[in-house]
Symmetry: C2
Subunit: 231 residues, 2 copies
């Protein structure tokens, strides 16, 4: 368990990576119920040898899930970080939204793995909660910046029940984003919509309905920015 930093550990890490790469490749064509034997075959090794690297199929799946969350989160973070005009909160929001969609379109099977229907019989370990929150935290950060800059419009919103409001306030404190409950609620709603938009497109719900996908997504992202009060 301890880091031995030897040559052995190096080749082990490399082979582990190759296994995950092969698994990802298979994920794209065969879906979440990946075949360990097929992976082993592709790597030219015995199927039983895989168990030296992953205790079972779920373990391998967990590794893929964490990688996917990290990939999505990093896409969001770099998209925001690279955006020059930090005061243009709508621009940042749009850039991050596009990055999320772009990542999803580039790796649809990995997106489905983390944000699609849960794999039956698979229970996500707690290791995934950290990476999972990276993407929404980027969105929250943009809104928080706007709020701090006094650049948030007042927007009409349905009433927030007191107890729900209290819950949201607690969540804001827990993840350390300086947003009051109504704004956080709108931001979460917007994140929900973006997720729905990407999923609709990816899962085929838009087929024969909307052809101009880029424009349609941009329209939605802009609508959500407006709903939050970004300007």
């Amino acid at each position: 368990m301890v880091e031995h930093t030897g040559i052995r550990a190096r080749v082990r890490a490399e082979l582990t990576g190759e296994i995950k790469a092969a698994a990802r490749r298979q994920l794209a064509t065969e879906g979440a119920n990946l075949s360990l034997r097929a992976i082993a075959r592709e790597l030219g090794m015995a199927s039983s040898a895989l168990y030296r690297y992953f205790a079972n199929r779920d373990d391998l799946l967990t590794a893929l899930i964490i990688d996917a969350y990290d990939g999505l989160g990093e896409a969001a973070e770099t998209a925001d970080a690279r955006y020059r005009r930090r005061g243009d909160h709508v621009g940042r929001w749009l850039a991050v939204a596009r990055a999320l969609r772009g990542w999803a379109l580039a790796a649809p099977s990995e997106y489905a793995l983390i944000l699609g229907s849960p794999v039956p019989g698979y229970r996500a370990p707690t290791d995934t909660t950290g990476p999972a929150s990276r993407a929404p935290l980027v969105l929250a950060g943009i809104v928080a910046d706007a709020a701090a800059a006094g650049a948030l419009d007042e927007v009409p919103a349905p009433p927030l029940p007191a107890k729900l409001r209290a819950e949201l306030t607690a969540v804001a404190g827990q993840v350390n984003v300086p947003l009051d409950a109504p704004v956080l609620a709108r931001m979460m709603l917007a994140w929900t919509e973006l997720y729905g938009a990407i999923s609709f497109e990816l899962f085929g719900q838009l087929d024969n309905l909307v052809g101009r996908r880029d424009e349609w997504f941009d329209y939605q992202a802009r609508s959500m920015a407006a709903l939050i009060g970004l300007r």
Copy 2:
């Protein structure tokens, strides 16, 4: 293929129903990759006998998918039909939204089947497009009623690119809902958000984040009604 209405056809239909029921039961526990042998075992018959009723696993899955779409659509339709004050468009919207969520919570595995990540290797036949549009059509109908009654508020919205606008106008004509492009766009965005909200809750994305699920969903549904312009 012709309806023979004989005794033979009756027992066949009954057994077909029992097979689907068993498959649904297994869907809830094991997920989309259902085991024909387990179904046959549950019904006390040989696994090979199932192939008299469904050509293969995908065929059985297709039947379940169509049933699920119909169930979701019917839940939406009856929820709207039962709502008394037809002029209260927000109320109808909320009732339908709650019905959609209620159906999903009652049959999470069936919801995942139709609106979750697509089953790998499975290609949905065209038979599913009809039932699939029932639920969103109910929502569109409410908005259309509001528009016809002149009960739609003017709401600010991002610009709609001309070509996208034309596409949406074509879609409105195709499904025969008298909505102009901007309103249809907002309605589709709202439907996307509701789907995202239900999926988030069902797929565990809200765990350790929002406890008061009913209130949170109502808030979102109300927000979407306001975004469309319902009052």
